[in-house]
Amino acid sequence: MNEERRTFMKKAGLGLMAGFGAAAIASSPLFERVAASAWAAAPKRPGTRWGMVIDTRRCREGCSACVDACRLSHNVPTFSDPRRRVEWIHREEGRALLGSACATQKLLPALCNHCEEPSCVRSCPTDSIFRRRDGIVAVDYHRCIGCRSCMLGCPYGEVSFNWSDPRPAITEPTPDYPTRQQGVVEKCNFCSDRLKRGLQPSCSSRCPEGAMTFGDLNDPDSAVRRLLASSDSMRRKPELGTEPKVYYII
């Protein structure tokens, strides 16, 4: 084989490899258009998967109906010291909640995302915080030892701890849901107690604008899935791979 032929073969081979490489890159999922709903594209587990879509365009400035409804229906204590606060749902500025891609200055509702891959569950030493079969991440108040690993594990800061006795701090107690005690964690339970009675979560059912839609993310005909298909949505810190099940339409 002469030298010229050799270099030609070499260069042709390199060119061929470069071509295949470009084709491979162009067809890789990196360059695909991202589906409107990350959930619909790849459902993680079969069965009911409760989720929520919050249409922030309908969210009214200065309204706190969802927060108030939650506090009332679950005996959530009200502490004045922000370092001792206990909350299942609260309002936070859009940019702080969803990152710089979200331009809104409005206060948006923020609650437990009931992640499909919850890091709070991975950090609990006693299985007191666990994922139910329907995807709801729940707390067993009678097993929790109060080590607060889940609070540090949650990237969204949605787990609260009863730093002192919560009972005196409940403004309007209700007999519908048990109170908790000093030294355990608590958080949003997607109103699993109301779901059992065939009711919608109290926050979404009390929203005067109908901005919060609750439903089964695995059911293609559900209201949440129809809403996700109709507009682009955002989730909190999706890059962490926790697969939050609370979506925001901006």
């Binding site: 991975r122 730093w163 030294g183 810190k237 962490l240």
Partner: protein
């Protein structure tokens, strides 16, 4: 054998009384915390873990350091380390016992501690911590006690001790790994998600453990006039220096990665520790201590350098002092510096500082650990003296 801890001179009893008093203050602090809840401590939203959990990684490394004496001494026939073997086993036992106490002190529901053993959750690293600590406590205490018993009777240590040390190796090495992994499941804290965490805990614990052993050996040589050779102290100085150097390299590697990659969470935590930023973030009462992390890091680095100088190593007090400073520096680096600064977030407001109850409990547990170590050292010393006279 334990009755030997109950005989001592005036200075011994004064020291014991001081420690008992401090431990009592800790019990008082814990009662306040039990009555008023963790709201009485400096912890809260934004500083979920305080000074209790901040002791855990360091103590895990300290406990594991005993393996680096016990394994060569028992399994590799390094008889030059024999005098240090019971001391290191006791140090590991005290570190494990203190870890268990600090773990328990931070629980909001201490009455449910049995849950920790009954409802193990294997996928959660924290779940392995208490059982591993308890097992390692028993193993290290058993090793130290049987070494001492053999020495008292003038016999060779029993053969099963070798098997015990073999079992202790995976358990002891697991401690820094669990301590690191229980932080790794908390994904948003940059300082905690480094793969360097477990090696850093192990190596800084090794430096601290060897440094403290050096202090103990020098102290015993002075107070007992025992035959503890200069050779042992020299060897321990060398180990301390090498482990300290490795630990400093790891500090640099983690910091280099953070600043070269401009990783926001890590650089924020490191700036909070080693720049003027802490002055604004700390509560007013703690502002004078804002420079403490830098001072401790520098003193540790200087001590490591000193231990590399032959002239220093030949001395008596200076190597012990260097060993102590390296231990304190390692404690801050893998203790409060890691846990407390690791939790701070930009715009998170005031950073954590202990309130009176958690301060008292922490001092109390350290005093309790010192008390246990004092008693064990006293027994070791008495056994040694007896043999010396015989």
């Amino acid at each position: 054998m334990f009755e030997k801890a109950l005989k001592g001179n005036r200075a011994y009893w004064i020291w014991v009384a001081v420690l008992v008093l401090l431990a009592g203050a800790g019990v008082h602090g814990y009662r306040v915390q039990g009555a008023e809840g963790l709201a009485s401590t400096g912890m809260g939203v934004g500083a979920v873990w305080g000074i209790y959990n901040a002791q855990l990684p360091f103590l895990a490394g300290l406990a594991a350091s005993a393996l680096f004496i016990l394994v060569p001494e028992r399994l590799m026939k390094q008889t030059g380390l024999s005098a240090a073997a019971p001391l290191s086993a006791f140090l590991a036992a005290v570190a494990s016992a203190m870890s268990l106490l600090f773990l328990a002190a931070g629980f909001g529901m201490p009455s449910r501690i049995p849950t920790l053993f009954v409802n193990l959750s294997p996928s959660a690293p924290v779940s392995w911590y208490a059982p591993a600590l308890l097992l390692y406590l028993l193993l290290s205490l058993g090793a130290g006690w049987s070494l001492l018993g053999a020495r008292r009777k003038g016999t060779t240590p029993p053969r099963w001790l070798r098997a015990l040390v073999v079992v202790a190796v995976p358990v002891g090495l697991a401690l820094p790994v669990i301590a690191a992994f229980m932080l790794a499941v908390m994904p948003t804290h940059g300082l905690w998600t480094s793969a360097m965490l477990a090696p850093r805990i192990l190596v800084s614990g090794l430096a601290a453990g060897m440094g403290l052993l050096l202090v103990m050996v020098v102290a015993m040589r002075r107070s007992a006039g025992a035959e503890e050779g200069r050779e042992l102290a020299g060897r321990l100085s060398g180990y301390t220096a090498m482990a300290g150097l490795a630990s400093l390299c790891f500090v640099g590697l983690d910091a280099g990665t953070a600043f070269l990659g401009n990783l926001p969470s890590e650089t924020y935590a490191l700036r909070l520790l080693y720049s003027d930023m802490a002055r604004e973030a700390l509560p007013v009462a703690y502002v004078p201590f804002a420079g403490l992390p830098s001072v401790l890091l520098a003193s540790g680095a200087v001590s490591v350098l000193l231990l590399f100088l032959p002239a220093v190593r030949r001395g008596n007090l200076l190597p012990a002092l260097a060993g102590l400073l390296i231990a304190v520096s390692a404690w801050f680096d893998r203790g409060p510096g890691l846990i407390l600064a690791g939790q701070a977030t930009p715009g998170g407001g005031e950073v954590y500082a202990p309130a009176l109850p958690d301060m008292l409990v922490t001092i109390g547990i350290w005093a309790g650990g010192a008390l246990l170590l004092t008693a064990l050292l006293k027994v070791t010393l008495s056994v040694r003296r007896e043999r010396g006279m015989a």
